[in-house]
């Protein structure tokens, strides 16, 4: 409790500051603030960037998907190799390669490609993302992992296969969820 004039002055100042903050909030000043709007801009930018990424994928990889859907799997892979020269290290290239290799029953290579894609962009295993490819990856893991395990059992020194097995476990773990 305030005991002397100094205490009273401090208490009165505190009340004044609280009232001032209240006035600023009630008057909507916070909403007009430049920093507030720049925070909103940042969120908008993030969303726009995401939309742009989706449009980018559609524009660049549409020809590959047409080839894939028509059953021209080798041509689709060639097209992806060609695209990788102009768009190196793009996660969607790896994802589509994995998809096509899976259709060609090359399970080990499909697993490696899909693991690279998910490492580069976790949205592929995110059910809430428009890029969600969980069914494809689940199918690759379900079909590929037992075969890779069998092959490694018969060739225990095969380092490439050991790495692909790790890739398979990685995908399995990402599909299972948990914290990132």
């Amino acid at each position: 409790m305030p005991r002397d004039r100094f205490d009273q002055l401090m208490t009165a100042s505190l009340v004044a500051v609280v009232i001032f903050v209240g006035i600023l909030l009630a008057g909507g000043e916070a909403g007009k603030d430049h920093h507030q709007s720049s925070a909103l801009d940042r969120q908008l930018e993030r969303e726009m960037l995401y939309q742009a990424r989706m449009a980018f994928i559609e524009r660049n990889y549409d020809p590959v998907m047409i080839l894939r859907d028509s059953g021209a799997l080798q041509e689709a892979l060639l097209k992806l190799t060609e695209l990788a020269r102009t768009l190196p290290d793009d996660a969607h290239n790896d994802l589509l390669s994995g998809d096509i290799l899976l259709r060609m029953s090359q399970f080990d290579r499909a697993l490696a490609k899909l693991a690279t894609a998910v490492r580069r962009n976790a949205d592929y295993v995110d059910a809430a993302s428009p890029l969600n490819q969980r069914p494809l990856i689940e199918s690759a893991v379900a079909q590929g992992l037992p075969l890779v395990r069998d092959r490694l059992r018969s060739q225990p020194d095969n380092r490439t296969m050991a790495q692909i097995l790790k890739d398979g476990y990685y995908l399995q773990s990402r599909l299972a969820g948990g914290c990132e």
Binding site: Q36, A39, G178, C179
Partner: protein
Amino acid sequence: MSFSLQDRHFWVVLVAGLSLGILGVFLAVWGNPQNSGICVSCFIENSSGALGLHDNERMQYLRPELIGFVLGSIVCAGVFREFRSRGGSAPLARLVSGIFLIVGSAVFIGCPIKLFLRLTAGDLTAVAGVFGLVAGVWIGLQGLARGIDLGRSEEERGATGLLIPAGFVLLFVFLLARPAFIIFSERGSAAQHAPLMVSLVIGLLLGALAQRSRFCITGSVRDSLLMGSRSPLFWGFLAFFLGALGTSLVTGRFSFGLYGQPGAHLEHLWSFLGMLLVGWLSVLIGGCPFRQLIKAGEGDADAGLAVVGMLLGGGLVQSWDIAATAAGVSITGKISVLAGLAFVLVVSLFSRDRTV
């Protein structure tokens, strides 16, 4: 047993442990990430991101459980007249310890609570972490026995003990008002969460129970190593473990194995070392990340500084790529754990009373 079954404290500890185990699993059933119903370090990383301390857009959410832990603790401490502003024991060492608590947890992928939630969900990769935590607590106890002491905290004038709870009240306001500068992920594990009010109420309840019981995981390990089954915390831990295991089995969340576990990696050495760091630091500063939040709610400004360090750590582990993922532990993660061990060794060397 050195306590009687009529001892009220024993039952409070038992209820606290059981509630933490059961609700820890149920929070994941209700929307939190798999095996992460309660994970203080993950929640701290999410909250740091929401405050703009890192830019991982998949890890930004102001977790209501954290707010509940601190506010539940202060309300309970207030009601039972246990709130006391205190501090002044090696504040900077505690701040840095808070950072390294999150580093160790991030490299393991989870705090000590999540360690056992993972284990009780059948995740065998957590076993290395259990060994690490027990080893860390044991080393910490050896240090305490040989005179390592950060110094006593003193009663503090003023309202320093209220600062951290006040900060969490502000976070609660942010959570409800959602100002534009607070960021909420729309994808990734931070976008997975139980309904806000459910998380908040459970946080409040567990915060209050933990305040009354002094229950925490590393405290239980510590007391079990010192006193075995004579310690009420041993039984609280057993209740937590069995509660989590039973709930995992009943809700179909139990998946036994080493591979393909959610939010886990296969670098067992680093899981061991990450948790060793957490266990050791927890003994040194008197509690794991969860306990630091509870103590901060009781007016302990030293624990409050550890909480501030944890929030900073939450930002750093994401910004500097220290946090491990299912793909494994990065080189910065490995170096950071070793830096943490170097830190705790230096603190131990310089904080030792050699007359003991």
